[in-house]
Amino acid sequence: MIVLSKEKLPIQREQDVILFRNRIKELATKTGMSLVNQTKLITAASELVRNMLRYGGGGVTQLEIVSKNSIPGVRLTFKDEGPGIPDVQQAMKDGFSTGKSLGLGLPGAKRLVNEFDIKSEPGKGTTVTITRWKNGL
């Protein structure tokens, strides 16, 4: 996999989310991703960035255009230094929420992207990486 472009965006307030989503849309358009794939990626990113704001107290996102076997895609990394998730497996289940939300954020985001990776250490923070390829496979 080759990284074609890379940038970082800090997320501290709810207003940053809108800027972040617009930036993803620009990147996804650049790779030639279809509207459905774009919407899925943006929605997944929206879920994760909200989690980051709500539970992690904000953090930094990294936006990359990557290429594998000459198929382009967008890879996003969400890194916070919040309290971390004690039981990642439980958090990945539909309907589980420590807040009062629907509990679909993490599992839903996983279903909306092609590659999903979560690392969390209680007390240290959480890092989520997602990738969606242009062809959606």
Binding site: R21, V36, T39, I42, R50, S101, L104, G105, L112
Partner: protein, 288 residues
């Protein structure tokens, strides 16, 4: 700054002001469309006399000292008013920095025989003017931010109208991002209007919502439940194809809610729920 230098500059105030004004008026970038020359003259004079007074104080080089308070006040006022009037950052900053040039000229005339002192005085004058320019920039940006904040508030109010499309049917076109604060405004407006008009059906149109994630969906579900408690049924319309797919993948359950692809089909559904029939009349009776 040296006492003698400060006193000399103070004595030359009239000349300095004249040259500075001359330079400003000559400048091609002068915005006489935004501010008259007389106004500019008054503003400049006020600023210059405060500045020359501050040069004479013992802590002339510390722009945070008490002697600079009146200057900082005047400067903030100038910067904020310019931000509101629509001056560009460059124009605002040039205003302060153009004075630097004039002051340098005066210092050169006064201290032409003492290069070492001239060098020191110019350095000290420069550092003062630079920090004043920074202050001006900061306040300018603050002024701009105020404008943006006000517009944001205005926008969220404008973009949540409740429209009465028919006897007993309300429509609520939601445009933009639906965050918690917006939902509160939308829900309040809708519930109030339901009471005021006694409507039985409300159509929430989300054509203008760019992203529907689980939080937005949750807000919608809450709004629908609240409306139901008041005896009104909600129809969500404007669900685009890509949003429908995303909602399914996310796993959001909207089966208990009436949804339609377009506002037109939602209206049609509302008509049938209220048992209203819309028929095409014969041509002679249309009045067109």
């Amino acid at each position: 700054m040296n006492k003698d230098t400060a006193a000399y500059l103070k004595g030359k105030k009239k000349q300095i002001l004249e040259t500075w004004m001359h330079n400003q008026v000559q400048d091609a970038a002068l915005r006489d469309d935004l501010m008259s020359v007389a106004e500019l003259q008054q503003q400049s004079e006020e600023f210059l006399s405060a500045l020359l007074n501050a040069f004479g104080t013992p802590e002339a080089e510390d722009t945070q000292s008490a002697g600079y308070e009146p200057i900082n006040d005047i400067l903030s006022e100038i910067a904020i008013s310019r931000a509101r009037q629509g001056f560009s950052p460059r124009e605002t900053n040039t205003y302060i920095l153009s004075l630097k040039q004039v002051l340098s000229q005066q210092l050169e005339e006064f201290l032409s025989d003492n290069t070492a002192l001239l060098y020191r005085e110019i350095l000290s004058m420069n550092s003062i003017m630079d920090s004043l320019a920074v202050i001006a920039m900061e306040t300018y940006i603050k002024g701009r931010e105020e404008v943006i904040l006000r517009q944001t508030n205005e926008m969220s109010e404008i973009s949540t109208p409740v429209i009465r499309v028919w006897e007993g049917i309300l429509a609520l076109p939601i445009i933009g991002t639906l965050d918690s604060a917006r939902t509160q405004v939308v829900m309040e407006a809708l519930l109030e209007e339901i009471v005021a008009t006694g409507s039985r059906i409300a159509i929430l149109d989300i054509s203008g919502v760019p992203t529907v994630d689980s939080l937005v969906a949750q807000h919608l579900i809450k709004t629908v439940s609240a409306a139901r408690l008041m005896g009104a049924e909600c129809v969500i319309s404007g669900i685009r194809a890509e949003i429908a797919q995303t909602i399914v993948h996310l796993g959001i359950d909207l089966t208990n809610i009436y949804t339609k692809a377009s506002l037109a089909s939602a209206l049609k559904m509302a008509f049938s729920m209220l048992n209203i029939q819309v028929t095409r009349g014969s041509k002679q009776n249309t009045g067109f």
